[in-house]
């Protein structure tokens, strides 16, 4: 009877994962979807602790298990609640790494069981064949879980460091060959252990762990910070597959469904993110994005002269405009100026100016970054326009105010085939009458390239930290 309840728990868990993920893909039901999945997870975990049994023996070590659960829950909740909105992407990467490491550790422990001897009587029954017969398939699963989990762990840690700003892009010649060699060597050793079962297996095992960790590091290290979201999504699906490996190992259906679901969904999501940037996945993974070694593209005249606009002039031109479009970017997030931005919007609207926001799919550091930022400032959802719709509106806009966005409004994406961002759809702000660009300085954005928009006749620069600039601008507008 108890085993049947456990089966029910796992069934519920699997269904909630599917349902929850489906609900997460729709804005109206997204929040509930998250709760649904969490409830299912909780059910599956509790069921496992109290109802799981093997050969008639339930799980022990409750003290250890519960203390670990408590520690993890407390620390996890604190970390997740305290982090700033702009640091969310890093947290996703960090927690992903934790999952990967967990999967890898499971493989390590099971492998230790395999080679250090065990009491077969304890593991008889319940269809557990892998202890009684060291069959190759089981070892393949253990190794897969280990390798994928480790790669995901180290890769996610590097991604976390990069988004944190603690790690710089690091590329060296021949790195992709070296990484390929590491991978091939890794798989070769694994195959060797499975086939030959040599005496020095433990040594080779540690070699696999090391090589996998190295591979993860070198996989992510050269990739540009702006591409991190794509990489994190890919690593996310890796961890899903590693979790599924655990499911194979224990004939555990809920781990299998959750793992494969995330593996498949995560892979497709990665493809979708690439499409939004109009770059192929291989381009993201292999092409270093304007790093130190690659010659920064962009034939043709760089730079030129730019105009600056004074606060009072900017205030005037915006107050007497019919329509103002705001293009938020990473600079807005860094300055935490979203609330002031909303104030500006409200003040302008009170003066009869129509204000809308143009959101580029990869503005900021994550898809949806700007939406989250502006929603935090209570900006109405309807004012946030997707790129295609926004591009139509620019033609009838008097002023475009660009707040810390750079690459997403860089015309080189359309005109310069040698540019690293060539082909990426951009916000066509030059169609408006005036373009005001707020940046801290003339330094390039994440892509590391010049932006000809700044030197065009319709554009003027408003230098300063986004928050300060907006506050000053707001004061000027209010005094009109």
């Amino acid at each position: 009877m108890e085993f049947n309840i456990l089966v029910l728990c796992y069934l519920i868990g699997s269904v909630t994962f599917i349902l929850g993920l489906k609900m997460l893909s729709n804005p109206a039901s997204a929040r509930k979807g998250n709760l649904v999945a969490a409830a299912g997870m909780f059910t599956a975990i509790l069921g496992t602790i109290f109802l799981y049994e093997e050969g008639g023996v339930k799980l022990g070590n409750y003290g250890w298990i519960f203390s670990a659960l408590v520690i993890g829950s407390v620390v996890g909740t604190l970390m997740a609640k305290r982090v700033q909105m702009t640091a969310m992407p890093e947290m996703v990467s960090l927690f992903n790494g934790m999952g990967g490491a967990c999967a890898a550790l499971i493989s390590v422990i099971e492998f230790r069981h395999l080679i250090h001897g065990f009491d077969p009587a304890t593991y008889a029954g319940n269809g557990y064949t892998f202890f009684s017969s060291l069959d190759g398939t089981t070892m393949v699963i253990i190794f897969l879980g280990l390798i994928i989990g480790s790669v995901s762990f180290s890769g996610s840690m590097i991604a976390w460091g990069k988004l944190n700003g603690k790690l710089k892009d690091f590329a060296f010649p021949g790195q992709h060959i070296i990484n390929l060699v590491i991978l091939v060597l890794n798989l070769a050793i694994a195959a060797f252990i499975i086939v030959a079962r040599p005496e020095e297996t433990p040594l080779f095992f540690y070699a696999i762990i090391l090589l996998s960790l190295l591979y993860g590091v070198f996989f992510v290290l050269p990739i540009g910070g702006a591409d991190m979201p794509v990489v994190i999504s890919l690593l996310n699906s890796f961890t899903g597959v590693a979790a599924a490996c655990g499911g194979f190992l224990y004939d555990n259906k809920v781990m299998l469904t959750g793992g494969i679901l995330v593996g498949a969904a995560g892979t497709l999501l990665t493809m979708l993110m690439c499409k939004a940037m109009n770059r192929s996945l291989s381009n993201v993974l292999i092409g270093s994005f304007g790093g130190g070694n690659a010659a920064v593209g962009g034939a043709g005249p760089q730079g030129g002269t730019y105009k600056e606009i004074s606060l009072s002039d900017a205030a005037v031109v915006m107050s007497y405009a019919n329509k103002v479009m705001i293009v938020p970017g990473y600079g807005l997030a860094v300055a935490q100026a979203q609330h002031v931005c909303h104030e500006l919007e409200k003040t302008l609207e009170a003066k009869g100016v129509e204000v809308k926001y143009a959101i580029h799919p990869v503005a900021g550091r994550m898809p949806g970054h700007m939406n989250v930022l502006l929603a935090e400032a209570d900006v109405s959802y309807e004012k946030l326009l997707e790129m295609e719709i926004a591009n139509e509106e620019f033609k009838t806009s008097d002023v475009v105010l660009i707040l810390g966005a750079n690459d997403v409004v860089n015309p080189a994406a359309k005109s310069d085939p040698s540019s690293p961002i060539y082909g990426m759809p951009i916000l066509e702000v030059e169609q408006a009458k005036h373009v005001i660009v707020n940046k801290r300085s003339m330094k390039p954005g994440y892509a590391g390239i010049e932006n000809q928009l700044f030197f065009q006749p319709k554009t003027s620069m408003l230098f300063g930290d986004a928050k300060k600039a907006l506050q000053d601008l707001l004061a000027e507008i209010r005094s009109i």
Binding site: F17, L21, K22, L24, S25, N26, P27, R31, N34, L35, A37, A38, M41, A44, I45, T48, L59, W64, I65, S73, V75, G76, T77, M79, K81, M85, M88, V92, F95, N96, G99, C102, A103, L105, I109, T129, G136, P229, S233, T239, G240, A242, A243, G247, F248, L249, D251, V254, M255, L256, G259, G263, A265, L268, L272, A276, M366, G368, V372, L384
Partner: protein, 102 residues
């Protein structure tokens, strides 16, 4: 090869589950607005925390004196819990901001 085929035959349901879940995963993600890419990724991140169940099983089966298994298992459960709890809380925070203000 034959070993692999035998294994698949012995675990047919798992093969079906894998194939079906792949289709389900792809179907679900089909029409996601780009604004939800990040919360969705975060939610999926939390869901793959289901790997914690494997860690719990491993910990629960560890014998009394097996210190390495106990310690590693302990760490594994902590890591898995971080993934699950942290993942769901972060996703919730991201989605909180999407509430329509009336």
């Amino acid at each position: 090869m034959e070993q692999l085929l035998n294994w698949i035959t012995a675990h047919q349901e798992m093969a079906y589950i894998v194939i079906l879940m792949i289709f389900v995963g792809i179907e679900i993600i089909g029409k996601v607005p780009s604004v939800l890419h990040t919360p969705l990724m975060s939610g999926a991140n939390a869901i793959h925390g289901v790997v914690i169940i494997g860690a719990i099983i491993v910990m629960g089966k560890a014998e009394e004196g097996n210190v390495p298994a106990l310690v590693l298992g302990f760490i594994a459960v902590i890591l898995g819990t971080l993934n699950v709890v942290g993942g769901f809380v972060v996703t919730d925070r991201m989605l909180e901001m999407f509430k329509k203000k009336k």
